[in-house]
Assembly symmetry: C2
Homo-oligomer: 494 residues x 2
């Protein structure tokens, strides 16, 4: 879930100075419109790792907008008054009324995450809290509150750097106490717990927005843009005279040009002979694993996604070569049949859940809803927005049952795709592989890339991570998939 | 939650014979329309206590409708195929497609409830399962599935009678095995666990419908009517061309004339002198309790609801007499202020949550949403439907924090109300108490009674039960409230 927030997003000073005056003016206008309309409040939750600039961001928001209409609450330890009331009482007191913006800094998420990271409560208890939070936020959404949940993230090394820099700075040193270093020591544990909480509380009406906290300018502009976007979108809905009762929260617009895909080096080197050697080794390894005694308590679901001509078919052939034919099934996913359309979306994938000791290879998968169906508009926004959480739930159930879920995004460049399309048209036995539709999809390349980045951010989890495969070189891509798959199975078996 | 299902509902043979032919024909028609439209499936869940006629009801539904379009699944122990897949897999396989009716008998609720009742899993684990179920059913609702969840209930004595009768009957004896008697022995535990599960899974889109299982005719007609109603309501929505994405499930129509209110004997006896003596005793008891050392870790929220002129004011005066003025607050609830309307519904009640060692007396309360707002149409159906679950959540948080939530419905007859209205008009100092609105509300008596019964069924929980107070005799009513309140506080303190 934190992949996109570890790319080193940055905005240089010149473009920052150019962007901010416009953004500030727009934010003020939007804030004024929200205040004049008085139809909904805006609730901003600020959470994340220590040192990721949460406090500064709150200050900037207050500076950019009219602070008289922003209610900022920072929750530290409970007061006497608060301790004598149920846990949620103080948060209820802090809810902004319609027309106002409320910023809750240290909110109902802080205590459950910290307590669990410190080992003070069990997973099952944490999950009870999560359930309560979900019900509470669903109620807020139904009541018309526009909820924006920001998670400020730093990689472990970035957090260390940041704490060190602050300690050395005479103006910042006071901010770094033992408490901050204690949190740094717990980084891995804190990250795992946060991931769990974010995954289970990222709903269609109030998804988490993960913001990389390393660069201050990037952080401010990103939060400002998302907030502006969300307010404008909701104002437009209200002006229309009605708004859907199942609002999907807005997805963040791109602030800089960096994303998960364009930071990949798509053409990796691997010579044909090296490939042949490695392939044999990998296939042998996979064959052994699939015949391992302990494999009888497990199963594998391989998910292959990628643009057209990304080389999914080639990978599948290399996988199946290593497996016993009675053991695997390749499941090509196309448009749903009539029978499948008569059922909830995930039904057709539940049918294909592999039995113990089997391997199911999905050539495209349940991610169709947040890729093709989203980009082509086959499905309404609230539906694909809720699909992220439903898919996470689905994979959670598979993994808990011992199934290894290995998901691969085969990433190719537009140039490489063009080359492969042209080759296919020339080669007789490959001609069936290319249709007019393939050419049309190519035109929506940017839309697809955006959807892929969102998908990875929202569904790459500790229990079922995505692997991005640089696939301009087919040899390299195939070896990466095979190796990763073997590693994932080994993790499950040993 | 089971109050309405312990009233001894019954339908006599003559009216049954008259009702059934029409009901069957209507059900068949509706089933045919659902099948022809193919826009949504109907999913019926059958759960409840042993011996409450679950199996027979499923048989009747199959007999009354066209069984070729009903998919009935009874889930017993998992097969090999099923054990090798995640827990939910077999239920996904059993979902009915659009246009069909699916009956799941022994479903995703059976295993969690039974395992917890047997002590095989902890409450926190049960709550994890509940959370998964809630997400799953929310998804079904979003996907357009019409979900009807029936809970067949029997009181403990009714269950015993039923098992005995069956054992003696040569045709029924095979049904009563050691397993059934084992379940009977666990009755209290099973009831408590079921109540917990029902409370947490009764959502606006898929609330539980509790049906008394003792009388077969009542059971069949009730289930048939509810099913018919639900299908017709949904068909009407589909015909309108669109349907809300947050469908509220239909509330059951009344099948016989028995309900929680009209089975009360409203005029109870208590002479004035006895009253004076008992009042003094009760007030003394309450005074002592409120000064008890352990009371410092608790608080009390008294909720008084009732028709106009039911005597709430009189009760409040008798309560406050016994308390220290610094300790209690009387909170009259009228129409919300502008400030309150700018917040989520429960906000104004969260403000009034009492501190430790205090008593908050609510003259009308958060139940306004499911009473006056529902009956007068001040609030849309999906909103008051979700309020039941939100209120249960709210009270759950209060109780967990040590607050005693004591809820009283002051029940008077229409005749008694009329008498009191007329008195008020005659007595000068009481004249301010009666307005035109009071006369108007009287006209909606039946609507209010129906809403009250629904309210009690959906919000009377083990942790915060409703007390129905027979209030035609004011003396009796006051003593009952005081006594019950003392008992509830004593339970919390000792």
């Amino acid at each position: 879930m934190f992949e996109s927030a570890e790319l080193g997003h940055k905005i240089d000073k010149a473009s920052y100075d150019e962007t901010v005056p416009v953004l500030r003016a727009d934010l003020l206008d939007a804030q004024y419109d929200v205040g004049a309309l008085k139809k909904f409040p805006v609730l901003i939750l600020i959470n994340g790792v220590e040192g990721a600039g949460k406090g500064e961001t709150v200050n900037i928001l207050n500076a950019w907008m009219d602070p008289r209409h922003i209610l900022t609450h920072a929750f530290a330890d409970a007061s006497d008054e608060e301790r004598e009331r149920p846990f949620m009482w103080r948060f209820w007191q802090a809810l902004p009324p319609k027309g106002k913006v409320g910023i809750l800094f240290g909110n109902w998420y802080s205590d459950p995450i910290l307590r669990h990271a410190r080992g003070e409560c069990k997973t099952a208890q944490l999950d009870q809290r999560i359930e309560e939070i979900n019900r509470f936020e669903a109620m807020l959404a139904q009541e018309g509150v526009l909820v924006l949940k920001f998670w400020f993230h730093l990689s472990k090394s970035a957090q260390k750097d940041r704490l060190k820099t602050l300690s050395k700075d005479p103006d910042g040193a006071w901010r770094v106490t033992d408490h901050e270093w204690e949190l740094y020591k717990m980084y891995d544990r804190f990250r795992a717990v946060s991931e769990h909480v974010l995954r289970h509380t990222s709903s269609a009406h109030a998804p988490w927005i993960v913001v990389e906290g390393a660069d201050a300018r990037y952080r401010y502009v990103t939060v400002g843009r998302i907030l502006l976007d969300a307010m404008r979108k909701r104002l437009a809905q209200e002006e229309r005279g009605w708004h859907s009762r199942v609002n999907a929260a807005p997805l963040p617009p791109a602030t800089d040009t960096r994303d998960l895909l364009n930071t990949l080096v798509l053409r990796q080197k691997l010579a044909k002979e090296d490939y042949a050697k490695q392939l044999e080794k990998c296939q042998g390894r996979l064959a052994m694993l699939s015949r391992h005694a302990r494999f009888r308590n497990h199963a594998v679901a391989v998910v292959l996604e990628g643009m057209d001509a990304a080389g999914k078919g080639g990978v599948i052939r290399r996988l199946t070569c290593a497996l016993d034919a009675r053991q695997y099934r390749v499941i090509p996913i196309a448009a749903p049949t009539e029978e499948e359309r008569a059922q909830p979306y995930l039904w057709r994938f539940w049918r294909q859940v592999p039995r113990k000791a089997r391997v199911a290879i999905f050539d495209r998968s349940w991610y169709g809803r947040v890729l093709v169906e989203r980009v082509e508009g086959f499905c309404a926004e609230p539906d694909w927005m809720r699909a992220y959480a439903e898919i996470n739930d689905f994979e959670d159930q598979l993994v808990r049952d011992g199934i290894v879920v290995a998901k691969f995004w085969m990433a190719i460049s537009q140039e490489e795709q063009l080359k492969r399309f042209q080759e296919r048209e020339k080669t007789r036995f490959k001609r069936f592989k290319i249709t007019d539709e393939d050419w049309r999809n190519r035109e929506k390349w940017d839309g697809y890339e955006h959807a892929v980045c969102d998908m990875i951010d929202r569904t790459s989890t500790e229990i079922a991570p995505w692997t991005l495969v640089e696939a301009d070189n087919k040899y390299f891509a195939r070896i990466k998939v095979l190796k990763t798959l073997c590693e994932r199975i080994e993790q499950a078996l040993y």
